[in-house]
């Protein structure tokens, strides 16, 4: 399940179920989204194909570090949340 918030919700919709190959990683999933939605590719990746600094990610409601954890494999039932910088209050 992919959850998107704020500007990413406007591009991706709030929730979408995705089917993944076994052993797919966070990076695989983000690239699949980028391939399906050019506006998401534009918003989330820079010209070199690297994830933009301000994109924040949670797997199962825990923040992950995009510089280290993109190769993390996802399992059936995992929830990936994608959102821009926080601005509550």
């Amino acid at each position: 399940m992919v959850l998107a918030f704020a500007s990413f919700r406007e591009i991706l919709g709030k929730e979408r179920e995705m089917r993944l190959l076994e052993s797919a990683t966070v990076k695989d999933l983000l690239e699949e989204l980028a391939a399906a939605r050019p506006a998401f590719k534009e918003a989330a990746f820079d010209d070199t194909g690297a994830l933009r600094d301000y994109v924040l990610l949670m797997v199962n409601r825990k923040r992950i570090d995009p510089t280290r954890d993109l190769s993390r494999p996802l399992q059936d039932g995992d929830e990936l949340a994608i959102f821009p910088p926080l601005a509550g209050g």
Partner: protein, 131 residues
């Protein structure tokens, strides 16, 4: 109590809940929609994650600053200029603790809680804080 709600915030109710015979000081923070040439503000939450994060922040503030009670209510949805976005109420025996606890909660909330604001003006909308 932590609450993320579409309804108007009742500061009165929060203060009633935070009052205590052991409290000598209560400090309240209200964040309100400022007129920066905007018409409304839309607030969005990753509700379950925000609730959990605010509960963690509340626990940290309670134990660090010896608070007697701490209440946080954050609104979501569409708010007009002047309306309250969030309210924090902290009670403690002494004012130093109440001020520090309240300040801690708002600073951590801004850094850690998955909540977003979109300013809506004449020329459409703009998400706050996004580059």
């Amino acid at each position: 109590m932590i609450e993320i709600t579409e309804k108007e915030i009742s500061l009165d109710e929060m203060i009633k809940r935070a009052r205590s015979r052991d409290a000598g000081a209560m400090v309240t923070f209200l964040g309100t929609v400022r007129d920066d040439g905007i018409e409304r503000m839309e607030v969005e939450a990753f509700r379950e994650a925000a609730q959990a994060e605010l509960e963690a922040i509340r626990e940290e503030a309670m134990s660090r600053f010896h608070l007697i009670e701490a209440e946080v209510v954050h609104r979501t949805g569409s708010l007009a200029v002047g309306e309250s976005i969030l309210a924090i109420v902290c009670s403690a025996a002494h004012r130093d603790e109440a001020f520090s606890g309240c300040r801690y909660i708002i600073e951590e909330l801004k850094k850690r809680a998955p909540l977003w604001k979109k300013e809506l003006g004449e020329n459409g909308g703009c998400w706050v804080g996004q580059t």
